[in-house]
Subunit: 311 residues, 2 copies
């Protein structure tokens, strides 16, 4: 049986999994991400941890396809990263360095793309090879799969669907410097912002406390039938449905897989998004399906493993 | 020398070209598109015309790679068309029928995608294998090339960038039934609409006559320094720049190739679009290049030939 490693390098921890070629997780563990000194220990720590696992599982080298790696940055096709916002790396040849340190073949991709590939292989997108994964977390990220392969883009920056503009009239600025990005309405902080805007100056009966509010509170209130929360969910659905209609007009996916912390709200969230997507979608895309991500934190390692298996 | 045929089936004429594998046009001609009786003569006419050319050029069959065909409709990967708006076809297996009639291998794609492939091979996108072609004509169409290949999409409907929404407040309805599509502002009729809206009720000195106006008139006036026309061009640039910023956030192309009748306005049009694109683009996409399409009416046959050459 051939095996491979899937590695997901995050700002706090590195997740590592050992996978069969069929995508079964044989082992998984985490190590801390040491971002000091320009993050120059990260790859040696990963290499060491992988080589330990090779010993621990008594793996012969010719059984190992290689190591797939996801990083929170744009990556070019040679596995080169010019800039990361939270690992400290500048101009890092991730593929080359990790291949030299381990002797295995390495492929490197953006973490959102890895999650998309993972969900296609073993999660909410199973059975489809044309999908868009939408990650609703601190920000809004995305990954696009076309014919089973990641759409990288010329700068390794495809799938930045959090920065599709959905409101020309927005006055506040997104983290990226633009105004009206869908990330400003559909991320965890975006939903809180929407809720505060909705509640501001209104005297409505609601279980929501504008001073002390999380995205989860909003969705919990929606589920409890709170009518203010349900209005906020409509606004959220309208924004995200509109953004995904635009994405569909461009790439025409078979399915949208919705993941990230915010998606833990579950099916109710999908209902609000789908309602407005159907209203705003170009007619060829109206039947695009929606599903929830299923792999949670394992999506990244799973997709990274899938990517190297394909090599 | 291997050769192939590129066929571009339009609502009025079918363009046919004989190409070398290197993309040189050895011969090209047109036949009328007979749309009567559900368009059931179109493919037999094409087959006959191709077989005539085989004789005329005294081509041995093993020198012919096949026939690439572009059609004005969504096409699935088996060369099947469910619906066309202007050929009369319903549920037409274009590939199968044309292969049976000619004995050659046939591949079929959407005409906007074929134009994109043609411009990549021999036109404004030469040297890049990640590009988005934007066709500004009666409508606004698009074709997306990723790593040298057409992005088809799950329904053969990718690249419908004319139906990316850029104005949530629009009150008039697009041909597709939605409101605020970029096609409503950047197509030939869209530009006239923008101009009329701008001039309506204003007493400005301008060479434009709102009662009798074409998109070309607007661009001619821009080139002549007419300040009202230049304001209209700013609004056009703002809308299209914004839409293409959204497209770039999704697919991250290396270059946008701008074609179609409206693009005959030339570099000045690109300047207005580029100005606003740079303002609205996500930072990873700010250096995306813009170029004018160069193949005109030959883009479709050229791209169709390229597609079959790759087979």
């Amino acid at each position: 049986m051939q095996v491979c490693f899937g590695v997901d390098i995050g700002g706090t921890t590195v997740k590592i999994g050992l996978f069969s070629e069929q995508g079964d997780i044989l082992d998984k563990w985490e190590i801390p991400t040491v971002t000091e000194n320009g993050g120059n220990r990260i790859l040696s720590d990963v290499a060491e941890s992988v080589m330990d696992a090779v010993k621990r599982h008594d793996l012969e080298k010719d059984r190992i396809c290689g190591i797939g790696v996801g990083v929170p940055a744009a990556v070019d096709k040679n596995g080169f990263v010019s800039k990361t916002t939270n690992l400290g790396w500048i101009d890092k040849s991730v593929k080359k360095e990790l291949e030299e340190r381990t002797g295995f073949t390495v492929r490197v991709g953006n973490d959102a793309n890895m999650a998309a590939l993972g969900e296609m292989w073993k999660g909410g997108g199973q059975g489809s090879d044309n999908l868009v994964m939408v990650t609703l977390g601190t920000g809004v990220g995305g990954g696009i799969i076309v014919d089973g392969h990641i759409l990288f883009g010329a700068n390794g920056a495809s799938g930045e669907i959090g920065h599709v503009c959905v409101d020309n009239e927005e006055t506040e600025t997104c983290g990226c410097g633009k105004k009206g990005c869908i990330e400003q309405y559909a991320s965890a902080t975006g939903i809180v912002r929407l809720a505060r805007r909705y509640l501001d100056g209104k005297s409505v009966e609601t279980m929501l406390d504008p001073q002390n509010l999380t995205a989860k509170d909003v969705w919990d209130a929606v589920k409890a039938g709170d009518s203010a929360a349900m209005q906020i969910a409509e606004i959220f659905g309208q924004y995200l449905g509109r953004a995904l209609a635009d994405v569909a007009a461009v790439t025409d996916p078979e399915v949208f897989v919705i993941g990230g912390g915010v998606s833990k709200a579950g099916d109710v969230l999908i209902e609000y998004v789908e309602k407005y997507f159907r209203r705003y979608a170009f007619y060829s895309n109206r039947n695009t399906r929606f599903s929830l991500a299923r792999l949670g934190n394992d999506a990244g390692i799973c997709g990274a493993a899938k990517m190297i298996c394909e090599e």
